[in-house]
């Protein structure tokens, strides 16, 4: 049976570790390798950071994460209700950042795309942004299993 969970939390940077670790814990039932779990944690961290830094820009707000398993896959949706992305095509380019001078690398979306099996993003100006990404576990089973003893 498919498993699902939903997390809703304040857009505060101290929630970044909580969010990525909660999603990683949810994935453990699918027997991911350590590398696969690390990929998921990194991608979730990027998406949640985008919500906090870009969507709400330090203002109060809510981030919602919904996860669902399907066979050997986890589907993750991370949504905010913030300002939306002005130019989505540009935002997806490597090294593109709207926060020059704040030491942002502009690599967040590139990492989500590279580290996950599937990735898509929808954004509406003033209406928030929603990232959907999936990871298919077990496609490259050369490494250690994360929840092995």
């Amino acid at each position: 049976m498919n498993n699902r969970m939903k997390l809703e939390f304040s857009a505060l940077s101290e929630n970044e570790p909580f969010a990525r670790n909660a999603v990683a814990a949810f994935c453990l039932g699918l027997n991911p390798s350590l590398d696969e779990l690390s990929d998921v944690k990194t991608a979730v961290s990027e998406a949640v950071t985008n919500c906090i830094v870009h969507a709400y820009r330090g203002q109060t707000g809510t981030v919602v994460i919904e996860c669902e398993t399907e066979g050997d896959a986890v589907h993750i949706q991370i949504s905010d209700f913030g300002r939306g992305i002005d130019d989505l095509k540009k935002a997806l380019e490597p090294f593109y950042t709207t926060s020059e001078g704040e030491e942002r690398s502009g690599m967040g979306f590139t990492i989500m795309q590279t580290f996950m099996s599937d990735f898509s993003v929808k954004s509406e100006k003033g209406g928030g942004t929603s990232v959907r990404m999936s990871k298919y576990f077990g496609r490259n089973k050369s490494s250690e299993v994360a929840n092995a003893e």
Binding site: P17, D35, T49, E103, R104
Partner: protein, 102 residues
């Protein structure tokens, strides 16, 4: 995020430990910069990532920021102790052309 430093005659070693994400990057930046300023004139700086358990693209911004600061001192920056997960994040950015691994 834990930061410790060690100075030898020609090298400043900066050891990072813990998780390097957007939440921790500011404190890491302030601490690393104050050590770099305190050791201005050193021959080279080495950032050791062996103790880093997690990093995301905030680490790329952090490292490029320190590279730019050290460039003003004409001091080269190197990386060591890069684990597999950190290497995957850093490789995406091509950062090793600026900051080589030892």
């Amino acid at each position: 995020m834990d930061i410790t430093v060690k100075r030898t005659s020609d090298t400043l070693y900066i050891y990072l430990g813990g998780e390097l994400d957007e939440h921790n990057a500011r404190a890491a930046r302030e601490r690393a910069d104050s050590e770099i300023d305190a050791h201005a004139g050193v021959g080279r700086v080495v950032i050791d990532l062996a103790g880093v358990r997690f990093m995301d693209s905030s680490a790329i911004g952090f490292l490029i920021g320190r590279y730019k600061k050290l460039k003003r001192y004409a001091t080269p920056l190197f990386l060591r102790g890069v684990g597999a997960a950190a290497d995957k994040v850093l490789s995406v950015s091509g950062i090793y052309t600026l900051i080589p691994k030892m």
